[in-house]
């Protein structure tokens, strides 16, 4: 809050400071008054309709290469949103690749062993993947945050080396020849559809009383426990809800690339959701989604630079976490809801 010295208002030595005030239209659109006029309704609807319309337009208008980028962005957006949902429950995962990889391998294995089609493997890999990851992480749910984070960092790295050492599930070569999707159109509809479902679904959950309890566990879990709520069970549920989406992203990629191998547990898939969330704004679900739609196309545009891309990720990460820690979405949301002005400081 900066303040200016005297000389602005003249009369006495009054100082001014910057103040953030809700916009009139925001105040008017709280509660039942939102229906009072088209302006308020539009104010509320616009940010929600925007992603739907934009995505719809892009899916129609973009050239083929960029349509594929759109699919990628949507899928990584799902992965990033699943990370953010965990953050809303107070769990910071440094290894989102775990969910991604488990889903990817499940889908690949289902097809490789039994020839199941994508419309069967995707939901199954998603649910089973979420379940397996929840079971794997259940023992550490009781521990304080940083220990959970470290286990999530370690698990995918360990799984990679186990696959490499035991040569199971295709070993270092992976499983190839997985059935692809019947056409780019299907990929687009599926990925964007799942993206929007995740975006609105997660936000809806967080808005209910159930979601409020989950965020309460993040803020002060002892308080929640002393009200008779089993915080661990809630965290496990959050883990499952996030894990399913993460696994779904992985399963989708397996069919999109028609291949699954050790790289699905790579650090990249753990770092991308975090970077997307840092850029877009942690804790808002929409922030990481936005972040993914910035990072993935950017990364494609910089494809010519090869391995330099990851260097960019790293630098980007640092710049944002130090310079704009609240993230783009929170910044934009604040600008949308509030305006700033100079007011006199009461003496």
């Amino acid at each position: 809050m900066r303040s200016r010295g005297s000389g602005c208002t003249g009369m006495n030595k009054s100082r001014t400071r910057k103040e953030r005030v809700d916009r009139g239209v925001k105040a008017r659109s709280e509660d039942v008054f939102a229906l009072s006029s088209w302006r308020e309704i539009l104010y509320l609807l616009a940010p929600r309709l925007l992603p739907v319309l934009v995505l719809f337009l892009l899916a129609l208008v973009l050239p083929v290469y960029w349509k594929k980028v759109l699919v990628s962005s949507a899928i990584f957006g799902i992965l990033a949103m699943s990370w953010d949902f965990l953050v809303c429950a107070g769990l910071v995962s440094l290894g989102q690749a775990l969910f991604f990889g488990v889903g990817a391998y499940l889908a690949g294995t289902f097809h490789h062993l039994w020839g199941w089609p994508w419309w069967l493997t995707l939901p199954l890999a998603s649910l089973l993947g979420g379940g397996i990851c929840t079971l794997l992480l259940a023992p550490v749910l009781r521990l304080r945050g940083i220990y959970f984070s470290m286990v999530t960092l370690v698990l995918p790295l360990m799984l990679v080396r186990i696959i490499e050492a035991t040569k199971a599930l295709g070993g270092t070569e992976g499983l190839s020849g997985i059935q692809g999707f019947p056409g780019l159109g299907v990929e687009l509809v599926l990925s964007v559809g799942m993206f929007l479902a995740a975006l609105f679904g997660y936000r809806r959950i967080l808005g209910t009383d159930y979601g409020l309890v989950m965020q309460g566990i993040r803020d002060n879990d002892r308080s929640v426990i002393s009200s008779g709520i089993n915080a661990h069970w809630f965290r496990a549920q959050a883990l499952f809800l996030a894990g399913c989406m993460g696994a779904l992203a992985g399963a989708f990629m397996t069919h999109a690339y028609m291949f699954v191998g050790m790289p699905v547990f790579a650090l990249d898939y753990s770092i991308l959701p975090i970077t997307a969330a840092v850029v877009g704004g942690m804790g808002s679900i929409a922030g990481p989604a936005l972040g993914a739609f910035i990072l993935v196309p950017l990364s494609e545009a910089l494809r010519a630079l090869g391995a330099l891309r990851i260097v960019f990720y790293g630098v980007f990460l640092v710049i944002f976490i130090v310079g704009l820690p609240e993230g783009l979405f929170h910044y934009l949301k604040r600008k949308y809801h509030q305006f700033e002005r100079w007011t006199a400081v009461e003496s």
Binding site: R142, V151, V154, M158
Partner: protein, 290 residues
């Protein structure tokens, strides 16, 4: 055979301890997460290499220069980046990890891959230990590792700066009230950690080649040692390095080197499941569980 496994196990353990020293100082003892540790290790390696090969400096000059440079890097890291995210451990982790990632991948991009990237050993020759011969570099590792660990233990227990390091981890506000400038202490802690990291690098890297992937492995090993031993306990760090070092040696002998990193990772998981504060950690029960 067993004699050999035992001896190399000891060397391996001391190597682990040496690697983990710097990380333990900043993370375990001062409570600041520096996840660019692995990158600093590799940076020290390549930096020394470049000083030797490109600038033609003698080893005796290159080593102190690199140690100082890395220490300075640690200090800068704190002053420029960490000071803005102090207190939020996850942000510290993310920020430092991002930097480390950028550094490591930059090296990979610039093509620093190959067998020509090695550091020379301090002295050729070997020492006879019982029926086996141990090359002198490994002996140096034992000496340097042992003395640095002892120095660290003494430092954090009996010197003002060392105690200040521990103070800012335990309760920063109280430390501030006692007149400890937490920013200055943190800067020192990070530079000490960086220096120790570089020292470890120049002593250990001559045994093999410098590789970018070693950066990630080093971070994981240091993390494993600190978690298993318990954050903040020098004795725990020593015990953990021996437990992990011996386990690694045995695994490498009987199951193949693929499994060595798995041992580290499994150890982390086991400890976090059974005794999260580590073997000798001092975290209060109430803070950890629930």
């Amino acid at each position: 055979m067993l004699w050999g496994a035992l001896l190399y196990g000891v060397v391996n353990s001391v190597t682990l301890a040496l690697v983990a020293l710097g990380f333990n100082l900043t993370f375990g003892i001062s409570g600041i997460a520096n996840f660019s540790y692995g990158a600093m290790y590799v940076l020290a390696g390549y930096g020394t290499w470049m000083m030797l090969q490109r600038l033609g400096l003698p080893l005796l000059a290159a080593i102190p220069a690199m140690v100082l440079a890395t220490a300075l890097l640690g200090a800068l890291l704190y002053r420029i980046v960490l000071v803005r995210v102090r207190g939020m451990v996850i942000s510290e982790v993310i920020a430092t990890f991002g930097i480390g990632l950028a550094i490591l991948e930059l090296f990979r991009y610039l093509g620093f891959i190959g067998f020509q990237y090695t550091l020379p050993v301090f002295a050729d020759g070997s020492l006879q230990v019982g029926p086996l011969y141990l090359d002198l570099q490994r002996v140096f590792i034992l000496i340097v590792g042992g003395s640095l660990t002892g120095f660290l233990w003494f430092f954090t227990r009996y010197t003002r700066t060392g105690l200040a390091f521990r103070g800012i981890a335990q309760d920063e506000y109280t430390a501030l009230c006692l007149g400890i400038d937490s920013d200055k202490v943190a800067t020192l802690s990070l530079s000490f950690g960086g220096g120790l990291c570089a020292l470890a690098a120049v002593v250990i890297l001559p045994i093999g080649t410098i590789s970018v992937d070693a950066g990630y492995d080093v971070l994981l090993e240091a993390l494993a040692v600190c978690i298993v031993g318990g954050l903040g306990s020098a004795l725990g760090m020593v015990i953990a390095s021996f437990v992990l070092g011996m386990a690694q040696s045995v695994t490498s002998l009987y199951m193949g080197s693929h499994w060595m990193m798995i041992v580290n990772l499994l150890a982390i998981l086991l400890i976090l499941g059974i005794r999260p504060s580590g073997l000798m950690g001092k975290q209060k029960e109430l803070e950890e569980r629930i």
